[in-house]
Amino acid sequence: MLLRRSLTTGITVLIISTIAGALGHGFGGEAGLRQITQYLVLGLFAMSVDFLWGYSGLLSFGQAVFFGLGAFCYAWVRKGTFAFIPVLENSSLAGLLSAIVLPALLAVIVGYFLFYGKITGPNFTVVTLALSFLVSLLALGWSGVFGGYTGLPHVPPLALTLGNWEMSARAGMTSFVIVTALCVIAAAGLRSILATPFGLALEGLRDSEQRLQYLGMNVAQVKMVVWTISAAVAGLAGGIYSSIAGYVAYDLLGVLLSTEAVVWVAVGGRGALVGAFLGAVLVRAVSYALSGIALSYWMLFLGVLFILVVLLGSNGIMGLVERFRRGVPSATGS
């Protein structure tokens, strides 16, 4: 059961990635494929948001803090900022590892105060919003480390060496394959976590935190764990993103990206990792297709999406899929 679910999720992510990659390559050649590869990484980021919001009911407006920190970690390591520490000497693997570990550490610290301080509901959301807002401001001001407005350019791509075997993701196809593989593994991994008793506890948390408490569960601890896992995944996504984009700046930590990720999940469907993944790829692809309009009216586009999601009240694309599967007509008479 566990294995089958993880496999299904992994394979669905693989199929979506392949189709998106083929379309991107068909329309835009090498550049199109690169573009799609970026969207896939954002899809991975979206899954981390869904894990937190869709499954556990914790709506964060600050998830980009972990994504952005991951991105900067990879950039710092690859640009030799940490070269004085022998282990962190300009290797891709060290870059990605630090992109996972540092955000997770930050999550533990922030989470301790938020969850043991019983900050719940809208207050949780706005505290995370404030966090994202201020961290991006801090990064903007601290230009020696974060590069200010210009950010850090020329971040080297992934380059892995195993014995004699060497692989560099300079080519579009290689990085597409690596990113797809990582997305598949991460999706299957998250799905397998959801299939454990812990996953059931997360769904309970979403439905009724109180009931869970009175059943004897240590709710703060459960929240800490899901928050940290989701930060680690977001950090990993950020690390990969900076390796592909080759450029990181303060806005990767900011509120706009944090909340855009929430829109991806809402459009794709809460509580379905695949939906979140698809939502991110679609929203980005559609906005690119409309780029003339969507880029200069980007906030308008996002804002309208937010309001539509609430007013339509359905559960995004996955909600439609579910309806279709059950054969219920979308407009019920009675």
Binding site: P122, A130, F133, G141, M299, L300, G303, V304, F306, V310
Partner: protein, 286 residues
């Protein structure tokens, strides 16, 4: 200038920061504390107020009229928003977050399209300084202090001493019961939302001469006023006053020694730490 005078002047500056913050935070609190809608577009309502003054200035109108217009315009926008979609969001906290955030993005974009992204400067309706401790303390600062000193008690009076205030609080305590008593919850909600919005517009107009007016100026105020509300405690209006005093005061003191960004980050850290140990807020009873 002596240390004593410097401290006194710093105190006055802090009082101005606190006053502006309080004007914003009270509007946020009315909508959140009373109605359960955390209005993430509150900062943008403030920006709309500031831009109304900008627009009034372009039309050659005087700053006071601009301020009055800001109250009316933003209050009216608040009315439209409440009637069109905010009224669907009461008691649906998460959805109200999503929708009002969408709204805030739309307003920001519209402001940028109409007025451009470049920062605007607004001159204060009164200029000149009052000689104070060997320095010229701007008259406009005194106007802000005086206005806050009038507005806040006025709001308190409105909520605790008038029939409308009583009805608003009744709806807050028990919707059904209030309805039984013949209070029309829907109308009362509209009133409360419009008051909150008009206050944001007013705050924006008052603040406009102090800072550069930009389409995204609202975010900082949203974050700061939210922190003021939450650290003071959502339960009572005096909590908002205490929270604003604490946040504004801390920012003033820390910014004096470093940058204002660092100050805000440190204050956020402190706020989170405070909530960890007093989740119900500093100024409310358990």
């Amino acid at each position: 200038m002596g240390t004593g005078a410097l401290i006194a002047l710093q105190g006055l500056n802090s009082a101005v920061i606190i006053s502006t913050l309080l004007l914003v935070a009270i509007g946020l609190w009315i909508i959140y504390g009373l109605m359960g809608v955390l209005n993430l577009a509150h900062g943008e309502l403030l920006a709309l107020g500031a831009y109304t003054v900008v627009a009034a200035g372009m039309l050659g109108l005087n700053g006071w009229i601009g301020t009055l217009l800001a109250v009316i315009v933003v209050g009216f926008i608040g009315y439209l928003l409440e009637r069109t979609f905010v009224h669907r969001l009461y008691l649906r906290p998460l959805e109200s977050l999503l929708a009002t955030w969408g709204l805030s993005l739309i307003i920001r974009q519209v402001l940028q399209l109409v007025f451009g992204a470049a920062p605007r400067r607004v001159s204060a309706p009164v200029t000149g300084g009052v000689p104070m401790l060997g320095m010229a303390f701007p008259v406009y600062y005194l106007v802000i202090l005086a206005t806050t000193a009038i507005i806040v008690p006025l709001i308190l009076w409105l909520f605790y001493r008038t029939t409308l205030g009583m009805k608003i609080r009744a709806v807050l305590q028990d919707r059904e019961m209030a309805q039984c008593l013949g209070v029309k919850a829907a109308t009362i909600n509209t009133y409360a939302f419009v008051i909150g919005a008009a206050l944001a517009g007013f705050a924006g107009a008052m603040i406009a001469p102090l800072i550069s007016v930009e389409p995204w100026m609202g975010s900082a105020f949203l974050v700061r006023s939210f922190m003021a509300v939450i650290v003071g405690g959502v339960g009572a209006i005096l909590g908002v006053v205490g929270g604003s005093a604490l946040i504004g005061g801390l920012e003033g003191v820390i910014a004096f020694f470093g940058s204002s960004v660092i100050a805000q980050v440190i204050v956020l850290g402190l706020v989170i730490a405070i909530i960890r140990f007093r989740p119900e807020g500093l100024f409310t009873q358990k």
